[in-house]
Amino acid sequence: MAFTLRSVKVPPNSASLEEARSRVFDFFRQACRSIPTIMDIYNLDDVVTKSELRSSISSEIRKNSHVTNPKVIDLLLFKGMEELNNIVEHAKQRHHIIGQYVLGRQGLAQDLDTKDEGTSDFLKNFYKSNYL
């Protein structure tokens, strides 16, 4: 698996937005197919489920949903492929995966709450850190 992924050359540029779009879906499928391996090598079974990992991959992709330039999409795809390669090749450690994809970008601060709607910016910042 790992070697097949690594052998992927830098693909030619996408000619149109449609082509870039289909490549994104291909990438997503490829990533989803490697989830069982990732769960296996990083021993993630007791911290996360496959569907959670899938949704975190899709949310990473959706973060860039505003991008319309095919060249930019190609670059982002390349970076995503690189990241996937690194993960599948076990070039990372368990805490990297947990920190980045299981807990999310918020880090360990699980202090978020839907009750916060009416509170002031001061209180929101107070909950986050002393230095905001």
Partner: protein, 743 residues
């Protein structure tokens, strides 16, 4: 044998030859240097070179002429400078902007003149003179940069380095060593010394000062500091010649509350800080100029930190408060900032164990309980280390909840916050130097405020001021008369029956210092009335001199009283259902009802935490920006030196957040906004580094009908080294109190 080998051989021999030659480098004598007349005559024949533009005085050295006739003019490197009579040559050079190298000379100590590093050439003098000990005479032509002066310094350096070990790489003074710097600047580039260096046995001076006596250059600064400033006869000079050593005469520790300052004045690495030994190099430290909070003096300090860790604390020059000294408690309490810290908000569960929770949950619990109790059952107590901003926020929060039971610990049950002169040191710390008679009432300045005590000692030494005290028998480091132990003596003086009355009335500037420990007494109003009677009889308060002083104990006290943190009822703590402790650890919590909900907001897990139901972690003084007012009414600001520990927050932010969770939002989001709120209550707190004198004198005070009790005065501070949550958590302070306190 190849050609290259031959060549290298010849090179080697020639190198040996040259090095041998350099070992026996002759001391060149130039006839022009030997006869000053010739050297003086020589430039006279040449056209006078234009003198360089005037330099700025070294280190902001300044002076003022009390009498214009006293001025005299000397020439430093050809540039004329006017100085007052009685200055030394070295001081004249400093005024002229020329820094003379020195080891033994220190401006705050007596002159020893034994290091000979400050040699300069004076015209018409046969030899170079030691500038620190030579008074400047009118028309003296001082030359600091001549070959003779340079040669003299080089020779002195050579002799000093003869017995100085070459252990700079493992010396803690490395990087801030006078000897290192001056040997680079003035020393020779080679040594001629081949014999063994002498070695000296290290002395044990206690848990604070590490000694490596082989490094000592016998400047005797530490001996002079101990006898003159600290007032202990612990250090001295033993032996003569090359056998000369600094030491305690008998096996004895240095028992002074100012002993840490010998580390700063030691020009070499002979006396260094024991807790700081091998911890860091001075160039990797970040210095933050801030304020000390371990007593009410507000000494100016510099916190040296590396990353998130406070590595050491050094004094900062402030002539009006601490000069350039700080007490040992200030200097060495910093390891308490790393121990016993509260990291996370915690709630006590049903089993009585604390459980870490999120800020959201902790504040929700506190707000819920606070809103359920009756307003008059809500009590807030600020701790002795609280800054003015957080005390303002605490008072606003409790007032918004409908309670007015908020005070600062140590101010007693019914503090008098209306008359500002009744809780301030009205003659100011620097002003104590003008006093000629001191009456200490129920105070032990040596343990309560070591810097104020150093000021009194300085006055006693300089002008033979008379000191008398009323209180438990105590040790002073200056001559002191014990008048009595209790209020009885005070009344005798107030009624003019005591022999000390004449001393007060005959004095030009009498000063009365009342300890803040008396605030805790029930008859404090009567005692203050008696003190004011003494002040009135002795003419202590005049337009030009106010000698009525109160010596506070805690850093937060003055600001708390300025902000009006006064409890509404004196027994509110017995009926409290919701008790908010903002770092208050010295409050007696025995009387708190068992069903009361206690919130502890603070940085250390100290005494009050045992009773707390919820813990809210806050920042220590080294981690936050806050305003503190010292005992003389001078407000100063701390600056954050290191980041906060764990999930802690600034004190005022916690109260602001709690107010919003409880639905009574305080109207400030920033430090600037809370300061403008403070401006409406106590504008003097915003004028930093300025003393705001008390407005009204005792003419306003009301007559007191209280009965004075005969209980003798108690010592306010049991243990100098451990007075607050930071110092109680400190290992060094624990060692000090175990070893240095007299049992």
């Amino acid at each position: 044998m190849g050609l290259g080998l031959l060549a290298s051989r010849t090179l080697k021999t020639s190198r040996i030859l040259s090095s041998q030659y350099s070992r026996f480098r002759p001391i060149v004598t130039k006839p022009g240097l030997q006869s000053p007349d010739a050297s003086a005559a020589a430039p006279a024949t040449q056209p006078e070179p234009t003198p360089p533009p005037p330099k700025k005085p070294v280190g902001g050295a300044r002076f003022h002429f009390t009498n214009p006739d006293d001025a005299l003019e000397v020439f430093v490197d050809g540039f004329p400078v006017k100085i007052p009579k009685g200055m030394t040559v070295l001081q004249a050079c400093e005024i002229a902007g020329v820094d003379i190298p020195r080891f033994c000379y220190h401006s705050r100590l007596s002159i020893a003149g034994n290091c000979r590093m400050c040699l300069v050439e004076v015209e018409k003098s046969p030899k170079p003179v030691a500038s620190c000990a030579m008074p400047a005479l009118p028309g003296m032509k001082i030359k600091t940069d001549t070959p003779l002066a340079k040669k003299a310094r080089e020779g002195v350096m050579e002799f000093l380095l003869m017995n100085h070990p070459l252990d700079c790489p493992i010396c803690d003074q490395g990087g801030e060593c006078d000897l290192q710097d001056q040997s680079m600047a003035f020393g020779s580039d080679r040594g001629r010394f081949t014999e063994m260096k002498r070695s000296v046995v290290d002395k044990n001076l206690g848990p604070l000062v590490k000694t490596v006596m082989t490094r000592c250059i016998q400047c005797t600064r530490c001996v002079r500091f101990a006898t003159e400033v600290a007032g202990v006869q612990d250090l001295g000079m033993l032996g003569r010649g090359s056998g000369e050593e600094i030491g305690t005469y008998v096996e004895k520790l240095m028992t002074s509350e100012l002993s840490g300052n010998v580390i700063d004045i030691c020009p070499v690495g002979a006396l260094t800080s024991k807790p700081f030994a091998f911890k860091a190099r001075n160039w990797e430290l970040k210095g933050t100029e801030t304020i000390d909070v371990t007593d009410a003096v507000g000494s100016n300090i510099r916190i040296d930190s590396r990353g998130p860790e406070v590595m050491r604390i050094l004094p900062r020059l402030n002539e009006d408060i601490n000069e350039e000294w700080i007490s040992d408690k200030t200097r060495f309490c910093y390891d308490g900032l790393k121990r016993q810290r509260l990291n996370d908000p915690m709630i006590r569960d049903a089993n009585g164990r604390f459980k870490a929770v999120s800020w959201r949950d902790a504040l929700a619990v506190v707000a819920e309980v606070a809103l359920q109790v009756k307003p008059e059952e809500i009590v807030g107590i600020a701790g002795k280390l609280s800054d003015a901003e957080s005390m303002m926020a605490l008072k606003d929060l409790l007032n918004n909840m409908g309670s007015n039971n908020v005070w600062c610990e140590g101010t007693g049950t019914s503090p008098n916050a209306d008359l500002r002169y009744r809780y301030l040191m009205n003659s100011s710390i620097a002003g104590l130097e003008k006093a000629d008679v001191f009456l200490l009432v129920g105070t032990q300045p040596r343990v309560e405020a070591a810097m104020v005590n150093a000021r009194i000692r300085k006055t006693v030494r300089a002008s033979n001021a008379k000191v008398a005290y009323i209180g438990p028998p105590t040790e002073f480091n200056y001559d002191c008369q014990h008048l009595g132990t209790g209020p009885q003596t005070l009344i005798e003086i107030a009624e003019g029956r005591h022999s000390f009355c004449s001393a007060i009335s005959n004095a030009k500037n009498p000063a009365i210092i009342v300890g803040a420990g008396l605030f805790e007494r029930d008859d404090k109003d009567a005692i203050f009335a008696a003190v004011e009677a003494i002040a009135k009889n002795g003419n202590v308060i005049r337009p030009d001199w106010n000698g009525f002083n109160v010596l506070l104990l805690n850093a937060a006290q003055a600001a708390a009283l300025d902000l009006g943190l006064v409890p509404e009822s004196s027994n509110s703590i017995e009926s409290a259902k919701f008790l908010y402790l903002m770092g208050a650890d010295d409050v007696n919590l025995d009387k708190v009802p068992a069903d009361a909900f206690v919130v502890y907001q603070g940085h250390h897990g100290d005494q009050s935490v045992y009773r707390a139901n919820v813990i809210l972690p806050s920042a220590a003084f080294s981690e936050k920006e806050g305003t503190y007012e010292n005992t003389e009414g001078c407000s100063q600001q701390t600056l954050p030196a290191v980041p906060t520990v764990g999930d802690a927050r600034d004190d005022w932010k916690i109260i602001r957040a709690l107010s919003e969770v409880a639905g009574i939002r305080l109207p400030y989001d920033t430090l600037g906004a809370i300061r403008s709120r403070m401006r409406t209550v106590a504008p003097n707190l915003l004028n930093t580094d300025e003393i705001e004198p008390a407005a009204f004198g005792p003419s306003l005070s009301l007559d007191c009908s209280q009965k004075i009790s005969s209980t003798p005065f108690k010592a306010a501070v049991e243990n100098f080294y451990m007075t607050d949550s930071i110092t109680r958590a400190s290992k060094i302070m624990a060692q000090c109190s175990a070893m240095l306190l007299k049992k």
